[in-house]
Symmetry: C2
Subunit: 146 residues, 2 copies
């Protein structure tokens, strides 16, 4: 039971931007601080841009900024947008994957469980992840001076 790094990197990127609100941040900076692949992060950022979560400026002195206030960005929304497939089990997506499908209650149960998972994420915004004291600690960990 694992989610992809897309969602993880996406949320961490948005957190980084939120921690540095007011400045423009480059992909290189984020990749370095987190110690992750620049290439992969580029794609995640790109997708976040297309989805409208952040603003990206090309060229010299370019970089990224949050497109909305942290309190307006739902963790659940980001997750749904970034996770490639939301199907917990194969049979939910692919008709014919299991003979039981037409009457299977297990599918329904998995869907219910997933809904409960998403409901928790939906109940929180970026801002909830970054209360003042936590924000200070995270800036220290990321060596962000303000």
């Amino acid at each position: 039971m694992r989610i992809t790094r897309h969602s993880d990197y996406a949320l961490r990127t948005l957190m980084y931007l939120a921690l540095k609100q007011g400045s423009v941040v480059t992909i290189n900076e984020i990749a370095e601080r987190y110690g992750i692949s620049r290439n992969h992060l580029t794609k995640v950022v790109n997708r976040l841009h297309q989805l409208g979560y952040l603003r990206a400026t090309r060229g010299k002195n370019g970089g990224l900024t949050l497109a909305s206030a942290p309190g307006q960005i739902s963790v659940g929304a980001v997750f749904r947008d970034m996770e490639s497939s939301l199907a917990v089990v194969e049979c939910v997506d692919e008709p014919g994957a299991c003979v039981l499908s037409p009457s299977c209650r297990l599918q329904g149960l998995f869907n219910q469980a997933q809904a409960a998972f998403l409901a928790q994420l939906d109940a929180h915004t970026l801002a909830d992840l970054l209360p003042p004291e936590t924000g200070r600690q995270l800036r220290d960990l990321l060596a962000i001076e303000r």
Copy 2:
């Protein structure tokens, strides 16, 4: 966001046994009816046996039976036992995977969401998945005569 086939096969196997309570069922039969790999299923069955969910008899006329009543078998318990890793994100397992870990609230949120997921599964037993009418339909789909 996907779970492994271990859990899926395990639950489907237990459902099959529950639908055929009173008879002994072979791995071959289950694999054929579901159209899945006999080898893989063998390993799943083996694990279910070790965990005490089913009884296995070797040799001629051998086979499998449920070890307890369907109402006693929790879907959540089977899931926890069969899923190889319960960590939703890498950073929950592996210390040092992310610099934020010491103060990260995202981890906590993912743990909460996972708990909500598991709570749904915990609230149901095999018996809930197989009420009488559903049982009849599933037996038809599996070509189980009684």
